[in-house]
Symmetry: C2
Subunit: 353 residues, 2 copies
Amino acid sequence: MEFGLNFFPVFAPERKSARDYYREVIDLAERADRHGFEHVQTVEHYGSPYGGYSPDPVILLTALAARTERIRITTGAVIPAFAHPIKLAGRLAMLDHISDGRLDVGFGRGFLPDEFEWFGVPMEESRRRFDEGLLACQRLWSEEDVKFEGEFHRFGPITLLPRPLQQPHPPIFVASASSPESCAAAGAAGHNLQVVPTIVSHETLLEMLDAYRGAYRAAGSPAGGGRIQVKYTCYLADDRATALERGAVFEQNYIDQMAGAIASWASTTSSAYQGYEKLVDKVRKYDFARSLADHKVLAGTPAEVTEQLEWVRENCGADLTVSLQLNPGYLEHEHSVRALELFAAEVAPRFTA
Amino acid sequence: MEFGLNFFPVFAPERKSARDYYREVIDLAERADRHGFEHVQTVEHYGSPYGGYSPDPVILLTALAARTERIRITTGAVIPAFAHPIKLAGRLAMLDHISDGRLDVGFGRGFLPDEFEWFGVPMEESRRRFDEGLLACQRLWSEEDVKFEGEFHRFGPITLLPRPLQQPHPPIFVASASSPESCAAAGAAGHNLQVVPTIVSHETLLEMLDAYRGAYRAAGSPAGGGRIQVKYTCYLADDRATALERGAVFEQNYIDQMAGAIASWASTTSSAYQGYEKLVDKVRKYDFARSLADHKVLAGTPAEVTEQLEWVRENCGADLTVSLQLNPGYLEHEHSVRALELFAAEVAPRFTA
Ligand SMILES: [Ca+2]
Ligand SMILES: [Ca+2]
Ligand SMILES: [Ca+2]
Ligand SMILES: [Ca+2]
Ligand SMILES: [Ca+2]
Ligand SMILES: [Ca+2]
């Protein structure tokens, strides 16, 4: 099992300035790089405290690439529905070179009605735009004189500059798949997978991982795929009480900010997002203690978090890379640093040694 | 007079990999930062050796911001016609924070038919899209709950996250203005100005600078404006013969690559770009020796380049910032480094002391 860091800024701007947040993330990434973590990743969200400090993951990731040497640089994710493929493919190719070939690209479909509204994109098109955008990037990265005739984008012939450093293109992850069917599709296509255990039941998670691995093997285990990242928020401290206290505060903060970001789901239904109209209720029922018992979040001392991760390894597989959010909410930077140093010294060696 | 570095990659990919190019630019920027240069800047172009290694200036500039401490970080330019304002404003705001408030934003209109074609944007709309995109960024940066009802973009209410660090927003430059009228408009609006002396006659250049300064003063010299950057390619070496030899090679390379990028102007006319159909002929007639005599390019020993810059100062004004391309074409990195070190040691002190 390997470990990475996931940066998902969820807090109101009054809590922490963007300047301080980015500086702290750069510091954490430099430390993770020195400690041999596998990747750093961040998200794409707009206009609300739920991820809004990251309207473009490629920007912050470029700063992290410029300040690190070995760690992989991962989008988690970019949303093709909101981008022109020539721009998206070009910017990611630049980052692939700047990072010296350390880029992994997670592509996501998006799920916030406000974001689709701001970009004037109907949510019903999200799946088709995701598929088309991913295909367009793949072709721009790997072919010359690309003539693209999609439903949403038509262009070319054009030969992308720069072409990416990794050949034929950076590894592709399908982000936040939430059904066994979408995981199977990712595996069959030879892509890698990013999953978020919090948003599905434990049974569904295991079905998703099985479906992915089965489809990937059935497709002949194509080169460049087969990697799985699972994302966990982790409250790690020297003592249990402190860890649980932070968990209670920042899980509630997360729920509050997410509730704000998804509020429009209460008055939205979309055939492309079945059941999402119940998301607001579901989020409001979140309970930290139950989530901890259900292995959807990590919290405690190094020994306790080690035990929780052993459960993940036994139940979900030793081939996973666990992407840890060690700076949840507006946690003070010194506490995130301590969590990272504790994790590197006392938890990671039990799994990577 | 102050000095900055302009990075405009003009060479076929076979000449230099994107990986090497970005590494060299980072090294030059770190050196310029230590030597007290005023800014680094780069360009936005697509799909051809004429600038195509820079489909997104914000990416490379973010790497430069992460690796420098004092130098200003300048887009030269971004093209709003090819971007959604929420994305463009958000990414630039991120860079403003990552650079700790060192961002200057040059906005450009674009002039290559192929690029407009790839993005499906009619060239006739370029002026209106430029104006609307610049206005949308300004509003997103400085207002809350922005409800934008433009000709090309409608969105909101949205409050941008992050808002920029510099208040009310990063300084704005109007890039590559090429007529006294457009310079006057930039001055009247309180914007700063980026000009490229090579593309206009000496008389027109002086008229443009006069028009800009006059309009800026007439508008009451609004805060945040009044700065002028002029761009020069500079061939600087220990001896005159080497400098001129490089000038001959790389000015020809520039012309050849530009001729390729603008080839479609030969079969394009646009009411929005009067006279551009003659651009191909004009470019083909370029002559390095005449350009040097006409003060459109700098070349020679430190003493000679000093003299050429004294002419610029006397004729164009001591309030200029000169943006130097010291790594033209596929010049070997060690030669660019030598030029930079020579400039910092023997030329710059004559003007900034
Ligand atoms: Ca490792
Ligand atoms: Ca490096
Ligand atoms: Ca609760
Ligand atoms: Ca200075
Ligand atoms: Ca710094
Ligand atoms: Ca010639």
